[in-house]
Each structure stands twice: as C-alpha cells, then as structure tokens.
C-alpha cells in the first residue's frame, strides 16, 4: 500500500520539521520569482513553478567560508570551519531535474579527496522530490534521461494526485525514516489517479552518440558559431543544477580574514588565465566548447555521468538566446 499525504499535511510536515530545528528548504516566492529558500513554515512552500536557481546551493553554497585566519599576538593562526554545526536539512519540493543533481555531483566532490563541505551537507540532508506537472518550451529533461516523474536522487518522492494529495514513495532509507518519524501525517490507502505530468516537447537524445561525436569534433565550426554570439557571462553556469566549478579567494587582511570558496564559471575569460598572461582557453570558442564537452564528454569519461539534468534554466537565462537543447539536437543529427 502506498503512503498518501494531503497537501495540508505536507505543509504541517514542514511546520513540524521546522519545530525540530531542521533547516527546511523548498521553493518559496521571492519577489518576481520562486527560489529555493529556507521555509519558516508550511505556508511558505510554493509548488508548481520551477525555481529560478537550482537547489544545488543547499549542498554547494554560492559562497562559503572554508577557513578563517588571523594573527594572535603576532602569531599566524588558521581556524577550520565547524562543519559539525551544519544543520540537518530537508529539501522539500525539489523537482526531478534538481533532486537529481546531487547524485551527479557526489562523484567529483568525493573522488580521492573528499570535499567535506559538500559531503557533510549532503550527508545531513534528506531530499523530498516531487513529480513535475508543468513545463515550458525550454525544458528538456526527457531528452537527457530524466523525466517529470523520475525519482532519481530523491530520498522520498511525491507524486501529485488528482485529488490534491500526494502519493509518497520512499526511495531510500533516509526517506523511510522521514515518513516513519512523522507517521501521523501520512496514511496508507489506495491512491487516487495521478495528476497529469508535465510533458516536455523534446525527443530523447542518444547521449552515447553525442559523446562519440564530441570525441572526434574537438575542432568544429559549431563552436565558433556559438562563440560569435556568446557574451561570456556566467548566467548559464550559476543557475545550472550541475555546474560545480568554483574559485577560492581570501578576503580581509593577514591579521583577520576569511578564505572563501564561491561559484565560478568556465565561460569567464579569466577562468583559466595564467599569471604569465598565457590563457589556454583564450577565446570564447574554446570556453563554450569546454562547457559542452565537460557536460557531455569529460564528466562522463571521468565519472560515468552526464552533467546535465535538462532543467532548461540556461536556455531561459541566456541573454542572447543560446539554446543548449538546440545545440544537442544539432549534434544528435550530425552524429547520424
């Protein structure tokens, strides 16, 4: 028997999680848009819209302190950040294209060296995904192997039902725990019919074929044609659920300061600039190529995963209308 939770109870669940001093993050109205933000109560949850930024920032904050330094009586000291104080978190209402991203990023943050900032947050969070019921012409999750009802990455997955309640599917132990700890809010019973799911208007892409094409088309006129238009801003990378490049910078003085890790983008001209002035990716052509290659080839070469969930955010955000879905389609066609 599946577990069912009504919408009112879902909001009550948030209330009680907040009471348990958990950090509850979910889609919330923020001015003209919806953003994943900490919810202070159940009423804050705003479902049915794709938040402007992805939920990756719960695990990989836009900017975080990684250590502090300073001088005590003239002696330089370095202090670690107390990661034990990272709060237990529940990400609630994450759409499949967002819920899926941490499981992609786990690989890079834990190969050989463990980035404990990411991993500690990851360990302490439970992801409650929700099936997606609305989409627009930028969505292409189905093209890259996700789906509006894909529970990949979720610990607990909610499917909206026609009667306004949600069918709950515990995907992992974390999800089961969440349900059993708040058993009174869930009830067992026959599920009503599922609400109609979003249906992105894209054909499934053959990612293996695309990768094969990328293997042999490091030099291709395609890159130049995109680079001519691309402005080299970081909008696409920053709102992407899977982009994970970062910069490390010191702020403050040698006497009192903080070392911070913050988002960076491979589209920026200075990203790879050497101190000598030599820049391996000196033109936009190479930088945009790196973006596509990293997502659909390099990451797969290294970690066996594609670095894209098809959320379409980069398409909506691009100031000059560069459309990664369109580019992939073109490659797909060229690859035969």
């Amino acid at each position: 028997m599946p577990q069912i939770i009504t919408e009112a109870n879902l909001r009550s669940l948030i209330d009680s999680l907040v009471k348990e001093s958990k950090l509850v993050v979910g889609p919330k109205e923020a001015g003209s848009m919806v953003l994943y933000q900490p919810l202070s109560n159940g009423a804050d949850l705003k479902l049915g819209a794709l938040p402007r930024r992805s939920s990756k920032e719960l695990f990989f904050p836009i900017c975080e302190d990684i250590l502090t330094f300073g001088k005590e009586d003239g002696v330089t000291k370095v202090k670690d950040v107390d990661r034990a104080s990272f709060p237990d978190a529940v990400l609630i209402g994450a759409l499949p294209c967002d819920a899926g991203s941490p499981s992609i990023l786990d690989a890079v943050f834990s190969w050989d060296y463990n980035d404990d900032f990411y991993l500690e947050r990851r360990k302490k969070s439970t992801i409650v995904g929700i099936a997606c019921t609305s989409c627009d012409d930028a969505c292409f999750c189905t093209a890259v192997g996700y789906a509006p009802d894909s529970p990949a990455g979720s610990d607990l997955f909610l499917t909206p039902l026609k009667d306004g309640s949600y069918a709950c599917n515990a995907v992992t132990e974390k999800g089961e725990k969440l349900v059993s700890a708040h058993g009174s809010l869930f009830k067992e019973g026959a599920a009503a019919d599922a609400a109609p799911l979003a249906a992105p208007d894209t054909a499934k892409l053959d990612l293996a074929k695309i990768k094969e094409w990328l293997n042999t088309h490091f030099e291709d006129p395609l890159w130049q044609s995109i680079a001519d238009v691309c402005l080299g801003c970081g909008a696409c990378a920053f709102i992407c659920p899977a982009c994970h490049c970062f910069d490390i910078n010191d702020e403050g003085t040698p006497d009192h300061g903080t070392r911070r890790k913050h988002w960076d983008a491979c589209g920026f001209g200075k990203f790879t600039n050497h101190a000598s002035g030599h820049n391996p990716r000196d033109i936009q052509n190479k930088r945009y190529r790196n973006r596509i290659m990293h997502k659909f080839k390099y990451y797969d070469d290294k970690f066996g995963k594609t670095l894209c969930t098809g959320c379409g955010r980069c398409i909506r955000a691009c100031p000059v209308g560069i459309d990664i879905g369109d580019i992939l389609n073109k490659i797909n066609v060229q690859a035969g």
């Binding site: 990684i66 250590l67 330094f69 002696v75 330089t76 000291k77 370095v78 670690d80 950040v81 107390d82 990661r83 034990a84 890079v108 943050f109 190969w111 050989d112 060296y113 463990n114 980035d115 404990d116 900032f117 991993l119 500690e120 490091f218 994970h244 490049c245 970062f246 910069d247 490390i248 910078n249 010191d250 403050g252 003085t253 040698p254 006497d255 300061g257 070392r259 890790k261 960076d264 491979c266 990203f271 790879t272 600039n273 050497h274 101190a275 000598s276 030599h278 391996p280 990716r281 190479k286 790196n290 290659m293 990293h294 080839k297 390099y298 070469d301 290294k302």
Partner: protein
C-alpha cells in the same frame, strides 16, 4: 569535536631562509611548524603544493627541493600576481600556509640505470631541480646526466650557485645558455635559444630519458629537436603548469580535456600530451 579533514586547510610553515635567484624570482626554504607534519611530510619529485599568503590567497608552485632532503621544503616563485607579490613581502620567520603535496610525480625508479637529459627554460628549472638533486643524491643509480638550461638573460638564470656547482662536478654535463643579446661580457655559457643549443649539444637518445620543462613556446620547439635526436614520445617527460585553485580535482579549472592536471598530472610523457585535447 571530531570531523573529517578539511582538504582546503593548509599546514603552517615558517620561512627559514630567503634566496633571491633573480631580481624577481625568489626561493623560500620552509619548515613546517607542526612537529608531526615536519616529521611525516613526504613527497615525490614533480609534485606541487598550494602556498598561501594569508589575506591574498593561494598560489600553485612545484616543490623545488629534493625529496631526498628531509626537514624542509623549498619553493621558488616569480612575483607576478596578487599572491606572489604578497609572498615577496614576507620575511624570514614569517608564516605561510602550505597544502600538499598534490599531483603525480616523475617515476624516478623507472629511470634507474638510464642516462638523463634535463632541458629547462627560465623559471621552469625548479620543477626539474627537484629531480636533478634527487638523482644526484642517488648518483650511482643513473648513467650520464646532461642539463641544458637557458633563460632570456644572464640575470634571469635561476639557482646560479647550483649551476656553478653542477658545472664543477665531473659527473654532470651542464650546458647553460642565454637568448641572443642576453649575455653580458664574460658569460661562460652558450648564446642561443634552448632548442638549438640542445640540438648542438646532441645528447644521445640511447637508453636515455629526456625531462623537459619550460614556457609553452620552448616546449613547442624542443619536442621536434628531441624527436630528431631519436627520443621516442615515451622517453620524454614534461610538466603542464595550468592555473589551479583547489589542487585536488574539484574546482575545475586546470582540466585539459578530460584530464585534471592537478590529479592526473602535472607530469606527463610527450605521448600523453600529444593524446590530449590540444588546449593548454
């Protein structure tokens, strides 16, 4: 409080000695402050570290001292940016941060019994100097050792005292050179660019490994020379020096194609470099 390691947390080290190699290149001899780290820090020739000037940031340099010499490490840098200028302001006794060692290394054990040719240009001698001393400290394990080293001008030659020492030694053949116009009166080396001086010196490729390090333009012209001398791609080693921030394969800026230079490199054979995406 028990938590797992913060991979971005540097060890503190004290600057024990400062040597000015050229007007803008400086060597630090560093000693770790923590006794435990001092005792246990070990690395292999070719590995690099992230050095921090607190308040300015971190910069990536190779560890320039030989792994065979314990108790300290050395780094060598040219002041060109925010961090290196801040480092330059530091004095003996000041504290800097060191994270590492990171990356792969030269497979020295595989070179046992072989002749070695070192080819370096300018500020790129430090990554090879660690290997040179490593090999000289185990001198009887190797055959002939030839060092071809050049810089723009006499003043730009780094490690001048060590060059003199190598020149004195009978078991090392040192060919030093400067670019045309960079020689002062009484310069005792050759005048010419590294690739042509190397061609002239013509070390035998027989049972020999070549280790090349220098600016991209020098490498570009040196590889064909080595090929003409009979070196195969697998007998040529070089290091890639890309911009890095994390040093541990996370931040995503040092990659050349699917190769993370900070983890898979920085030491590569010429064959490996040729197989990479040509973007470095």
């Amino acid at each position: 409080m028990c938590q797992s390691k913060n991979i971005y947390l540097p060890n503190l080290a004290t600057i024990e000695a400062i040597v000015d190699e050229t007007p803008d290149v400086r060597t630090f001899r560093l000693v770790f402050q923590d006794e435990n780290v001092r005792e246990n820090f070990s690395f292999r020739a070719g590995q690099f570290a992230e050095y921090s000037a607190f308040g300015a940031g971190e910069s990536t340099f190779c560890i320039a001292s030989a792994p065979t010499r314990k108790g300290y490490i050395e780094c060598c840098f040219r002041s060109v940016g925010r961090v290196t200028e801040e480092l330059r302001r530091l004095e003996v006794g000041d504290t800097i941060g060191v994270r590492g060692p990171y990356g792969n290394s030269f497979p020295i054990e595989d070179f046992y019994g072989k002749n070695l040719v070192f080819v370096a240009g300018g500020i790129a001698l430090p990554p090879l100097r660690t290997v040179i001393w490593n090999c000289l400290d185990l001198r009887d394990k190797f055959g002939d050792i030839t060092i071809v080293y050049g810089a723009r001008s006499e003043a730009d030659l780094v490690y001048k005292r060590e060059l003199a020492e190598w020149q004195e030694r009978s078991d090392v053949r040192l060919v030093k050179c400067v670019d045309p116009g960079g020689n002062g009166p009484g310069f005792d080396g050759k005048v010419g660019f590294v690739p042509s001086v190397l061609e002239e010196a013509a070390p035998s490729a027989e049972n020999t490994i070549a280790l090349v390090c220098g600016p991209p333009i020098m490498i570009k012209f040196t590889l064909p020379v080595l090929e003409r001398l009979g070196f195969t791609d697998d007998a040529i080693y070089t290091t890639l020096e890309n911009r890095m921030k994390c040093g541990v394969g996370k931040c995503g800026r040092c990659n050349v194609g699917n190769v993370y230079v900070c983890k898979d490199g920085p030491v590569f054979t010429a064959g490996q470099v040729k197989a990479m995406s040509q973007e470095f």
